[in-house]
């Protein structure tokens, strides 16, 4: 019986390999059509020999080795999975009629079983190989994306205030900040800009959403607010002084026309504050950012509540300004709503009121310490849960100007 199957395969193998290659070349799709016929005859002959060993002797080692070779050659060479799988179905359509003609009963049944086992093994192996290959490509792509995101996060960090030792010395003010994007990169940004010898500008921006799109918007606005861009400092060549510090309301008005809602389709809130260190005053305006608390040296607490609506609403509301005295020991906190808009594991909101009462109780501490305490409190409340929004905080403390002898 085995003898007969052996004879059949030996007798027909060469012809089948040739026919197989021709069909592949003509009907196997663009990739097979693009290979020389001789190369195809080479691989179909190898396949025939491998299947012979498996069907007749139950030895699958040659089939496995062959599969691996074809995976490397075809799948990694850009052939589609279905193309390769169909190619092996051709073998079945060629061999089955011959087996049916030459064998009967048990001999036929066992030959067909052997053939089917070989082809199933081949086709499953291709699927596995293809899946692993696709996975490896995805992992590689993801790794590259992660790397890019890390690099972008590094660039975003560079838009924040510089480390203490690198920052231009700001006499009379102590500044501290925290920046915790809930993903690698986020929609919050803030910074300090020196407007002239006596004036510093502070801004904090929150663009709705998380990840790359809002981060790109923060890049754009940070750039716009740089003094040389003409939005925060207006040049007046030939006059003395040859510049004007643009008032906060006018800065927000300019941003409002520069960033209409159609441009990015995001909520964009910003607070902009100018501190006059010589005269101990501050002036601010606010585009729907949470109102900053002003903690007075005497322990009293007030909110800076003036302002207008979000950026990009075509001037529908004016951006009101307010001026306040800013005296030694007074502190201001700028922050985004991620500081209080998160829930604990029972679903309870931290909330703005809880945040205000927390801040009220932090009198008498340095600004650095105030921020540490706030972060500690919200982390305790969140119980180690990941923040649902970016958290940004910047604190400014007005110091007594001391004259060193």
């Amino acid at each position: 019986m085995t003898q007969t199957l052996t004879e059949i395969l030996q007798k027909h193998n060469e012809r089948i390999a040739r026919q197989w290659a021709v069909i592949l070349h003509e009907e196997g799709g663009v990739h097979y059509a693009g290979r020389p016929l001789n190369e195809l005859i080479g691989t179909t002959s190898q396949a025939g020999k491998a299947y012979f060993a498996a069907i007749v002797h139950g030895d699958f080692s040659k089939v496995d080795a062959f599969i691996e070779r074809i995976c490397k050659l075809r799948l990694e060479g850009g052939f589609s999975l279905s193309e390769v799988q169909k190619a092996f179905e051709i073998y079945r359509t060629l061999l089955v009629p011959i087996l049916v003609r030459e064998l009967t009963d048990d001999a036929l049944l066992s030959a067909l079983e052997g053939l089917n086992a070989c082809l199933s093994r081949t086709i499953f192996a291709f699927s596995d190989y293809f899946l692993n290959m696709a996975n490896a490509q995805l992992i590689e792509k993801q790794r590259k994306l992660d790397e890019d995101l890390q690099a972008a996060a590094g660039i975003q960090q560079s838009l924040l205030p510089q480390k203490l030792e690198k920052r231009p010395k700001i006499e009379a003010l102590d500044i501290a900040w925290k920046f915790k994007p809930c993903e690698t990169i986020g929609g919050d940004i803030f910074n300090v800009i020196r407007l002239d010898e006596d004036h510093l500008g502070f801004y904090m921006i929150d663009v709705s959403g998380h990840g790359v799109p809002p981060a790109l918007v923060t890049f754009s606005i940070s750039q716009t607010l740089q003094p040389h861009m003409g939005y925060t400092i207006r040049r007046r060549p030939g006059l003395s002084p040859d510049y004007d510090i643009v008032s906060p309301g006018d800065v927000l008005k300019a941003l409002d026309s520069e960033y209409p809602w159609e441009r990015f389709e995001k909520f964009l809130t910003i607070i902009y504050l100018i501190v006059d260190v010589r005269n101990g005053r501050l002036i601010y305006s606010n585009a729907a950012h949470p109102p900053p608390p002003l903690l007075r040296a005497d322990g009293s607490f007030e909110l800076l509540e003036k302002g207008g609506t979000i950026i990009g609403m075509d001037g529908i509301l004016p951006f009101e300004e307010e001026e306040k005295p800013f005296s030694p020991g007074d502190k201001i906190l700028l922050y985004t709503d991620g500081v209080f808009e998160f829930t604990d594991d029972k679903g309870e909101l931290f909330g703005e009121e809880r945040f205000h009462s927390l801040v009220r109780n932090l009198k008498g501490l340095t600004i650095e310490k105030v921020l540490d305490e706030i972060v500690l409190s919200i982390e305790n409340f969140a119980q180690g849960a990941k923040f649902q929004d970016d958290v940004s905080l910047m604190g400014i403390e007005f110091k007594e100007r001391t004259m060193f002898a």
Binding site: W261, E265, L268, A288, T309, D314, I316, L317
Partner: protein
């Protein structure tokens, strides 16, 4: 987007039958409102009873409609859900929009009966 509209005397009532007015629907909303204003409607009630989320695009589209009609007519908003109301408060839009509790009151206000 599903935007139901009906007339009550000379008042056009616009009733978005959508949960959200966001980037995917705002342009169409703005376009439709603009066509109605161009067609001569000068008194419009916007019923937000079905809407529980508005993003910046949605807010922008409503503001555009308000700006387009202002000076020549009035746009009144009614039946605002709490989630949307808190957004209006947060963005101070409650100062910009005329907001009334019910459609009936909104229509009466525009007809000069309130």
């Amino acid at each position: 987007m599903q935007l139901h509209n009906s007339m009550m005397a000379d008042v056009l009532i616009v009733w978005p039958l959508e949960k959200r007015i966001d980037a995917s629907t705002a342009t169409e909303f703005k376009q439709k409102m603009s066509e109605w204003i161009d067609a001569g409607n000068r008194k419009i009630v916007l019923n937000l009873s079905e809407v529980d989320f508005i993003d910046s695009s949605g807010l922008g589209a409503i503001v555009s409609s308000l700006k387009k009609i202002s000076g020549e007519g009035d746009l009144v908003i009614c039946a605002v859900r709490e989630t949307v109301m808190s957004l209006f408060r947060l963005t101070r839009m409650n100062r910009v929009f005329d907001i009334l509790p019910s459609e009936d009151e909104a229509v009466r206000k525009l007809s000069g009966q309130l």
